[in-house]
């Protein structure tokens, strides 16, 4: 059923990761992504993989769902690895053929790249698996609120994001309805070449726009009725508060980054100049 689509990819649960403050989760994810790219040898790389696995385990998100998030990027990972193997030179030659030239640097870079991309995707999908879209938009609003000094309407932007999320299922329904209506009138949407199919979308997109504008007008009235002004003086029911676990998580990630830096320092870079 098309109605059953989930907005974002939130996995309902009650793990520590779910209960962590959304703002902290965003900060931690960004910190992790940065730290991914400073790994220089297998020891720090190992620590990174360990950290990723540990995140997955404490989130209690089923492994199947995590693997599903890697699937779309498998081709990219494969592609970059192959390119790296053949084109990065330096280090000990492994195969020194007339046409093919593979060196340790190439293999290591390929491995590093693949692991980095996979860890990056897994950890950032952990963020979206354990945080509802509403919490995410609220957190982004809070994190960006210093920008208000520069007269950037952060709350209004966050409201727009919330409304966009809110109307995705409604519009999906609408597209479904219009498609059926046009099919009932004899529209042929599935056959023909690329150009023809694009053209066939016009009778769907035009009514969709018209109805969306109509919805927007009604929604604006409804929001007016509920005293939305977009200005200051708004309070929020759900207050975000950093608690102990958020600080523990912060300490944890600081230790992690320190660990990576130390391992980098002790064991040096694996790639040979």
């Amino acid at each position: 059923m098309i109605k059953d689509i989930t907005i974002g990819q939130y996995y309902n649960g009650n793990s520590v990761l779910h209960r962590l403050d959304a703002r902290m989760k965003i900060i931690l994810t960004v910190a992790f992504i940065v730290s991914i790219f400073i790994c220089k040898n297998f020891w720090s790389l190992g620590l990174m993989v360990l950290f990723t696995l540990q995140t997955v385990i404490i989130s209690r998100v089923p492994l199947k769902m995590v693997l599903k998030s890697i699937k779309p990027i498998a081709i990219i990972v494969l592609f970059t690895s192959v390119i790296n193997i053949f084109y990065i030179k330096g280090g000990t030659p492994l195969i020194d053929g007339r046409y093919i030239d593979i060196t340790t640097n190439g293999v290591f870079t390929a491995l590093f790249m693949a692991l980095r991309i996979v860890c990056l995707v897994v950890v950032s999908s952990m963020l979206t698996y354990t945080t509802t879209p509403t919490m995410l938009t609220d957190a982004i609003e809070k994190l960006l609120s210093p920008l208000k000094i520069f007269k950037i309407p952060v709350s209004t932007l966050a409201m727009m994001m919330t409304l966009a999320l809110r109307f995705i299922p409604t519009l999906v329904d609408e597209i479904d309805r219009i498609t059926n209506a046009q099919k009932a009138r004899g529209a042929n949407l599935d056959d023909g070449n690329f150009i023809e199919r694009i053209k066939a979308l016009v009778p769907i997109i035009v009514p969709l726009f018209v109805s969306s504008i109509r919805r927007a007008i009604e929604l604006a009235d409804a929001m007016d009725c509920r005293c939305y002004t977009g200005g200051p003086g708004r309070t929020r029911m759900k207050q975000m508060k950093f608690c102990l676990r958020d600080f523990i998580a912060l300490i944890f990630i600081v230790l992690f980054i320190a660990g990576i830096v130390l391992l980098n320092y002790y064991f040096g870079a694996v790639l040979v100049k």
Binding site: D4, T170, R215, L219, M223, C225, C227, T229
Partner: protein
């Protein structure tokens, strides 16, 4: 509880401006006057384009009259500086539940109004829980609105108004897009608001069986009031209602036809039970 007037229309006229064709105005209101006392359940009836939705929008300042005056709890709705006060007094529920829910979680949506009013977070929580319990949607508070039925969505919308603690709720055909079950849910909720919480309800509808439940029925045609009174009196005018393109409740219709056919049946019958009793009496007389 007599009888403070909460909404007052004083000779109000309004027409939508159409830039291409000056004469093609729809939803016109022409010299409309009405007093709505606090605590009343008022139903506004009329066929499409008779101006009943326009009346609804005039009631909380979404539209302001071209001439005449609308006052809500003593405040003139055309006063831009006080429009928030007007909307704190008169909440509104629209026809399409999808177009009035703003959040992705039920309880967040109910919280939207009080959040806009700058209410303290703890009190918002209290009001949201209270409003959701009142409409019987408390168990759905963590759900996503798009997974609810039409009737449930409309009840969430009503909870959203309740949480703002308005004295008055205007409903613009809230059941028009619902199935019979959803309509029943919403009507029960509306009656609960009026009877138990003493909220003034203005229900704009074209369903006769909903209007019957009101304290007072106003029938509109071409932007004017043509009939105004308690349901029993209004629905006596079967012929007049028919010339306006409106039906009467089925029981009233049956009683009317029997009376025309010569049976001695009263002219103020509104529901099936009254009708059955009257027919029984008429048969005994024969």
């Amino acid at each position: 509880m007599e009888d403070k007037v909460i909404i007052k229309f004083d000779n109000v006229s309004f027409a939508y401006k159409n830039e291409e064709d000056e004469t093609a105005a729809t939803g016109v209101v022409d010299g409309f006057s009405i007093d709505v006392p606090e605590g009343q359940f008022l139903a506004v009836l009329g066929h499409n384009g008779c101006g009943k939705s326009t009346i609804a929008k005039l009631m909380n300042g979404i539209l302001v009259p071209d001439s005449g005056k609308v006052t809500v709890d003593g405040i003139d709705t055309s006063d831009d500086a006080k429009v928030t006060d007007v909307r704190k007094t008169v909440g509104m529920v629209f026809q399409n539940p999808d177009n009035q829910i703003v959040a992705t979680i039920v309880e967040d949506d109910v919280a939207f109004g009080p959040e806009n009013l700058g209410v303290d977070p703890k009190e918002i929580r209290q009001r949201v829980d209270d409003a959701l319990m009142a409409v019987g949607m408390y168990d759905f508070r963590g759900r996503e609105p798009h997974r609810l039925s039409g009737g449930q969505k409309q009840r969430v919308a009503i909870a959203g108004v309740l949480a703002m603690n308005t004295k008055c709720v205007v409903m613009d055909e809230p059941t028009a897009m619902l199935d019979p079950h959803g309509r029943q849910e919403v009507m029960d909720t509306i009656q609960m608001l009026n009877k138990e919480r003493g909220i003034t309800v203005i229900l704009i509808t074209h369903y006769m069986d909903e209007a019957v439940k009101a304290d007072r029925v106003v029938v509109m045609d071409e932007g004017r009031i043509v009939l105004d009174g308690v349901p029993k009196d209004v629905f006596k005018n079967v012929e007049k209602l028919k010339t306006l393109g409106l039906d009467v409740p089925q029981a009233t219709e049956l009683a009317y036809r029997l009376r025309k056919a010569g049976f001695p049946i009263a002219d103020d019958i509104l529901d099936e039970e009254e009708c059955a009793a009257a027919i029984l009496r008429a048969l005994e007389v024969k």
